[in-house]
């Protein structure tokens, strides 16, 4: 039986070869993986059918069931994602900076793969191909720990990806660059303790999963995540523009992390603006939960418990608070923000600058919808998640964030006196 340690050692060996592949070789392999997914579409669908049937038997909710279910179209989209990765610039080898020291050493800081990356994720089987592809393009081996509910689908997808790798005329060990980690909960613990074999863990899923990995892991973790996103309507805002942004940020896709969760309105314009925006929100199907000050302005606002300002609704609900100017808005955000995306709507240049300087989040927006905070809209071409932590990577993570750097120091016999 293949143990996790066997898989991790094989991934480590594969990562050594991957680091030396040319971009052309990696791109050819990505196309071969895409072809293999397409060719094995029927097998993958059949395996997925088993997962879906089992999930139905276990009364999985319809939204989770939808995320679990693959179709021919969804598999084609996974393959297309791999083809797009082949078209993106390779981050490996980029010279981040370079200089000559006082001792005439020529130093270059060069982007290199991280090595072996573990991904721990929940039901969606398309993550299997996406994550494997992004890791691979950046020269990393991927150990994929999917959920047990998608295990048949994930097996079929990984089998196809490895088939593609084997067909791509790479050194034989490269096939181990993609591996599915199976087993009970203990194997997740093993992953989290695999210092020296696994360089990085990325949990992708709900807050509970992320919290468990962050707390339990001895391997470095990048938190992806929760977005308790605020929008502050300044007294100097174009109120019509504010309304368009609010409706878009709240309602265009309420279940995602860059959706708006709390609206802050400057007291100076609240009397005028709150009834207007509440009407727009109600028309869009949103329930507005407000503090006392806001409820005095509009009786359609339901009472917000204090803890509602700290959590994501991820639904057509919005918290509302009236604040006494920009500094109170910044203070509210400091207290409640999850550090994802925070927005000000204003035409006052000094206020915009104060907000963008003082608010500490992965993204701070002026006069735009927070829904734009993702790798696709940012132009990264691929995204493995949005980091809400401050180390290594912050905000949308693309290929660049799946690399590290090393210093290459070229001398002519220098010794240190």
């Amino acid at each position: 039986m293949t143990t996790f340690t066997d898989q991790a050692r094989a991934a480590l060996l594969a990562s050594h070869s991957l680091a030396l592949l040319t971009s052309a070789e990696k791109n050819r392999a990505l196309l071969a993986m895409a072809d293999a997914l397409a060719e094995r579409s029927a097998d993958i669908l059949e395996a997925n059918g088993d997962d879906v049937e089992r999930a139905r038997g276990e009364n999985m909710t319809s939204s989770l069931l939808d995320r679990l279910t693959l179709t021919g179209e969804r598999i084609a989209a996974m393959a297309e994602g791999l083809r797009e990765l082949a078209g993106l610039a390779d981050p490996v080898g980029e010279i981040v900076r370079g200089w000559v020291t006082a001792d005439d050493l020529h130093i270059e800081e060069v982007r290199t793969p991280i090595g072996v990356i573990g991904i721990i994720y929940e039901a969606r089987p398309n993550v299997t191909a996406d994550a494997a592809g992004i890791c691979f393009k950046a020269g990393n081996a991927a150990l994929l720990r999917g959920s047990s509910s998608a295990v048949s689908s994930n097996r079929a997808i990984v089998k196809a990806l490895r088939h593609g790798l084997a067909a791509a005329d790479l050194p034989a060990e490269c096939v181990d660059a993609v591996a599915l980690v199976e087993g009970d909960r203990e194997v997740t613990t093993e992953m989290m303790q695999a210092r020296g074999l696994v360089d990085l863990l990325i949990p992708r899923g709900g807050a509970g999963l992320i919290e468990a990995v962050v707390r339990g892991s001895q391997v470095p973790v990048i938190e992806t995540g929760t977005g308790n996103c605020h929008l502050y309507v300044d007294a100097a805002a174009d109120l019509d523009l504010a309304s368009e942004i609010i409706i878009n940020a709240k309602t265009s896709r309420p279940s995602v992390c860059n959706a708006l969760e709390t609206l802050l309105v400057d007291a100076a314009v609240a009397e005028l603006y709150v009834p207007r925006i509440v009407q727009r929100l109600i028309d869009a199907g949103v329930t507005v939960h407000g503090d006392d000050a806001s409820r005095r302005l509009d009786s359609r606002i339901v009472e917000a418990r204090a803890d509602e300002f700290d959590a994501e609704y991820l639904s057509l609900d919005l918290a509302l608070s009236i604040v006494e100017g920009i500094d109170a808005a910044i203070a509210h955000i400091r207290r409640h923000s999850s550090g994802h995306s925070e927005t000000i709507v204003t035409n006052d240049l000094a206020h915009a600058r104060r907000f963008t300087s003082a608010v500490d989040a992965a993204a701070v927006l002026v006069n735009a919808s927070s829904r734009f905070v993702d790798g696709g809209c940012f132009g990264f071409g691929a995204e493995i998640g949005i980091s809400t932590q401050k180390l290594h990577a912050r905000g949308p993570m693309g290929l660049r964030e799946m690399t590290t750097t090393k210093y290459i120091v070229q001398g002519t016999g220098q010794i240190r006196i």
Copy 2:
């Protein structure tokens, strides 16, 4: 009594103000801190005397005692270090990159402080001023957890630094940007669990301390570190140049992490070269520990146990192994490296390139002594340690590595369709 949580909350508040200070304000404060150290030199020496006396009573080794002992000169050097920091470029506010998206959003990735940084370190009290200064210049608050053996010295130094901060005409809360964390072992555990209050922990000290923090912390940690550094003498090396580099890398300061620990010699030149370099090493007071192949070439080589290839000697000892060419050298390094600094001596361009590509370490050197791998020689002007991990920071860490970034997104009312 001030609890750790009180201190951490105060540091968090201070960090909010620090992030908004101008470079001029921060530099003025660094000079005021330097002045305060100089003015209070007598108090600091007296406090240090207490620590030294207590350490003598507890039979501290003479090398540790030397590290603990302050002199007027050492305090002046601490003050000078702060003055030099005032002269360095401020990393905060640097626009790392910027672009305009397809939706006409103007995006800038801007360097910002990390927030609150905890430093856990061993006996040397000069780390107190160095670490506080580097954190401060990059806009971060520092929670300093020194060793109990230096507690009186550290108290006096932190008192002086806070006095300087108070005299620098900053917002009052900025004085809490530097704080000494005191108490028993439980307070270290509190620091390691302080998610949401502490953004980053940096352990500075021996391998045991670092390992304990990495394993125990739920706050992100940057490992600084151990350096099991190799040098490979290629068949195409200039052997005289190799000898100069080896002697320098091994003997100029054997106790530091960038000192040479293992010498690898290509079998093609071993018969010629091993007796020559062994003679040079013995003349320099070095004991050479070798594998069987090397001992057949020179009887003065003592037997190396297998585990000697995995550890740092940090003394005038050197491990030696004969390898069958460059790929065997790379394989040996992969197996035993701690990922710090690895060197090839060669005049063969293809070998140099193969080595720098395939060896995965913070620094890879060609024809130069690994003793150059530090922040000072790299021209960073200040260094808080050398990271041997791959996330966030790798290699010598200066001011830039004490920052994160955020995306500032400027729009004109864009919504996502």
